[in-house]
Symmetry: C2
Subunit: 173 residues, 2 copies
């Protein structure tokens, strides 16, 4: 899909295509449509990121809270978004052994209790061991720092999803 095609979309089409660039936040894509025309993928991405950066802290926490746990109950009960399922699968999180799944569930619960939002990571760039290591590391961070880190991961995920849609060259493997 090229940028002319994107610029020709009405808001219904645009939200259908880009509504999950930020997980379960179609509101953000719907707002970004106001900023068209876009010059290229980077320009489009810039408007998604600017919207997130412009939210008050509660809104930024809200964006994070719309994300599922990695290898969590949404995966178990088949309720993940298509994008999230693909990413968790690419990271090997859909085929964990029982012990790893339990360890991840424990750390996810500790993380949610400590920060008030779920652990968000651009998972497809990782493998299960690296996910567990990163989760254990981030659990020890300070809340203000961790909010910034987590929003950075939301942006990495968004960049990869946009590149998937527009056929660009995403980060990483």
């Amino acid at each position: 899909m090229d940028i002319e095609k994107v610029n020709s979309m009405d808001f219904g089409e645009f939200v259908d295509v880009f509504g999950n660039v930020v997980e379960r936040c179609p509101l953000i894509a719907a707002a970004v449509w106001s900023q068209r025309p876009f010059s290229d993928l980077e320009d489009l991405e810039k408007h998604f990121f600017a919207f997130i950066d412009g939210l008050p802290q509660a809104g930024q926490e809200g964006v994070l809270r719309c994300h599922p746990d990695l290898a969590g109950c949404e995966l178990q009960r088949g309720a993940l978004s298509a994008e999230s399922l693909r990413e968790q699968s690419a990271a090997g999180l859909t085929s964990l052994g029982a012990a790893e799944r339990l360890r991840l569930a424990e750390l996810n619960a500790q993380y949610r209790a400590r920060f008030g939002f779920p652990f968000v990571l651009a998972a497809r760039l990782r493998d299960p061991e690296a996910v567990l290591r990163e989760l254990a590391r981030r659990l020890r961070c300070l809340p203000a720092q961790e909010l910034r880190t987590a929003l950075g991961e939301v942006k990495k995920i968004g960049r990869l999803r946009l590149a998937d849609l527009l056929g660009g060259h995403p980060l990483g493997p």
Copy 2:
């Protein structure tokens, strides 16, 4: 459900229950959770409304763009949210005759083209004739005024949905 129950919810439960108070904007409920504890239904409602009021104009337009057309294609293909289906049904919009449906589709299309967001109305407070009359009237309004009117309808819808969930006394019939 009483307010103590609401205040005891973790963010996952809260978003499950209140995620569609604003149509297809779980981000807003997820952000409002940061403001707990809530003293009562009005206090909870106040935080939903304050979030909407605090958005930049593109974000407010984005909220509107997450709403379906009344008696539109989402209804035809069974893709409405449960809340929206109930409300459109209460207004008699799920059993329109072909001529009324066509008239509504024409006016909806004109409205979307004029304002860049769909026609939003707290439909359960109306009947099909009143919906058509109001749509024709609002089509003639100025864009800045219409944005305010439409956001007022989003709030009416949110108030009714919150009252449904908390067992309060909603507006109207």
